[in-house]
Symmetry: C2
Subunit: 324 residues, 2 copies
Amino acid sequence: MRILITGGGGFVGSALARRILAAGSLAVGGAPAAEVEELVLADLVAPAPDLVADPRVRVATGDLATVVAGEQGADLVFHLAGVVSGAAEADFDLGMATNLDATRAVLEWCRRLEVPPVLVFSSSIAVFGHDPALPRIAEVTDDTFPRPQTSYGTQKLIGELLVADYARKGFVRGRSVRLMTVSVRPGRPNAAASGFLSGIIREPIAGERAVCPVPPDSPVALTSPRRTLEGLLRVAEVSDEQWGSRSAMTLPGITTTPRAMAAALDRVAGAGTSDLIDWREDPAITSMIEGWPAVFRTDRARALGLAPEESFDDIVRAYIDDLG
Amino acid sequence: MRILITGGGGFVGSALARRILAAGSLAVGGAPAAEVEELVLADLVAPAPDLVADPRVRVATGDLATVVAGEQGADLVFHLAGVVSGAAEADFDLGMATNLDATRAVLEWCRRLEVPPVLVFSSSIAVFGHDPALPRIAEVTDDTFPRPQTSYGTQKLIGELLVADYARKGFVRGRSVRLMTVSVRPGRPNAAASGFLSGIIREPIAGERAVCPVPPDSPVALTSPRRTLEGLLRVAEVSDEQWGSRSAMTLPGITTTPRAMAAALDRVAGAGTSDLIDWREDPAITSMIEGWPAVFRTDRARALGLAPEESFDDIVRAYIDDLG
C-alpha cells in the first residue's frame, strides 16, 4: 500500500507518519490491514531526519500542486497541508492559495487516478464561529450550521464541501474531519492563533516564560496529539458505510479554560510551574479564540469509538511522558 | 449610480434590469435613492433588444472574468451569472469554472475597487439537500446546516462562504440570498432540473404539452418571478445593520406539489388545461428534486418585510397578467 501525507513535514503529519511506520500495516476503508510499502511525505519543508532515514519513506518537497502532479497514485491520502489560522488571516491570498487552491489540486489529482483513493482531509473547528449578528452558540453538534469568522475557517469549510461533492461524484472516497485545537504540541510556537494553548504548558515545563493572550476564564476546546492521530487513523480505517454522511465529522475534545489548564500544570508538573505564564491579553487573538465555540457534542465520532481524554491533567501527563 | 448585473442576459437578470430602468432610481445599502446613470449587463449572450435600446444600458458580452477585468467599478453588483443545476451536474468542470471560479473573479474585482460595492449574490435553495445517510429535514430554517447533494448546490454554498468572508474582510458589502425555484418563468425551457415547475404551467397555457418528470405529490417550494425581484432589490436596499449576519438569507416561498399546481392551473386558466401535462417520471430529475427540501421557515426574510405569495393560484394569475 502507498500512502501520501500532505503537510508531512508538519507536526501532525510527522507524528502520523511515525505512527504508521511503527505499525507497519494499516487497514483502510473497510479492507483488511495491508503492509505499508511506501509513505510519501509531501511538504514545502523536508521532514525530520528519522523519517527520511526510513527506507519506506519518500520525500516530495515543493508546492503541493506541482508535487501531486508528479505522483503516480496512492491508496490513502492524508491531506493535512495548509497555512494556519493566524497566517491565513494576515495574508488572505496565501490562505486562499494554500488552503483552497491546493486542496482543489489534491482533489483533482485523486479524480484522475484509476481507483479513487481514501482521502482524509483535516478540517478544523475554526469552521464554527461566533456570528456577531447572532446569539452565541451554546453547544456545537453534528448538525450545527458553521458560520466561520476567519478566512482559515472559511477555507477549511470550503474544503469540506469540495471533498463531499468529489466523494458524491465518485472521484474520491473523501472524509473530512474537524480537528480540535491540539495541546500540548511539542516544539516551537507557530502562527496559529491557538498556539498559546500549547505554549502555556510546554514553555513552563521547559523552564521558560509563556504568554497567555486571552482572559484566564475563556472557555476553549482541545485534545491531545495522541487522540488527534487516533481520530485520523480511525477515519481512514472505516468502511464507507460506517463513515456515513459525506459531511465533515468533528473529532472529540474537552472543554477547559487557561486558568484550569494552569492549575492542571501545577498539579502534574509541580506547584508554581504556572508562575511562568504571563497573563497579557492580546485583543486580536482574544477575538479569534472567543469566536470559536468551546462546547461540543460529538455523537458521530463517538459512534466510531472516538472519545476525548478524561481531563487536562491526563494531557499534561502524557506530554511529559512523551518528552521521555 | 452605476449598477452591474452579471447574468444580465438571463431571465432573472433581464427582468431585474427592466424593473430598475423603469424605477429610474434606487436606494442602495441604506443610502437615499440615487439616479441610475449606467446599468451594465454582463453575460455570455447579449440581452434583449428593448434593454440594449435603453441609453443607460451598456452591454458587456463575454467570459465573466474577462468582462469584469475591463470594468471601472460599480456602486451595486447583482451577481446572478452561473450555470444551472442540471448543467453543473452533467459537466462538473463547467460548473466549477462558472459557479465557483467566476464568482471568485467577481469578488476579487470588487476587492480591488476603491469603495467596496454592495454585492447581491444569488445563491439557491439547492444548497440544502437530503443527505442519504441522515434523516430527512422536515423544515429548513435560517440555522439549518446545508448539506448540498448536487455540484450546483455545493458551488453556490461555496459562493456564499466566499461572499461572507470577503464581506468580513471589508472587501465588499456582500449579501447572499438563496432564491427559491422560480415559477412561472416565461420563455423557453432551460437545463435546470426544476425547469418543469414552470413548464407544466407555461406550456399548457400556450396550448402545448409539457412533461412533469416527478411524482404528482412530490412537495416543492417555489416563488414567483415578481417576488424574486422584490427580494433581490430589498436585499440591495437595506443597510449593513439591517442585513445583519453575513451568512446567506433564504427568500420566502410557498410549498406545493405538481398535482396542486395542476389544479390551480385548471382553476385559473380553465378546466382541462392541465390535461396537456404528461406525467412521466424521470428518475434522475426526481432524485434531484426530492433531494431539495420543500418546507421553509424564513424568519430573517420576514424581518426584512419579504413574504411569499398567498397561493399558487395567485402566481398563475400574475403570470397570465404579465403575458398581457
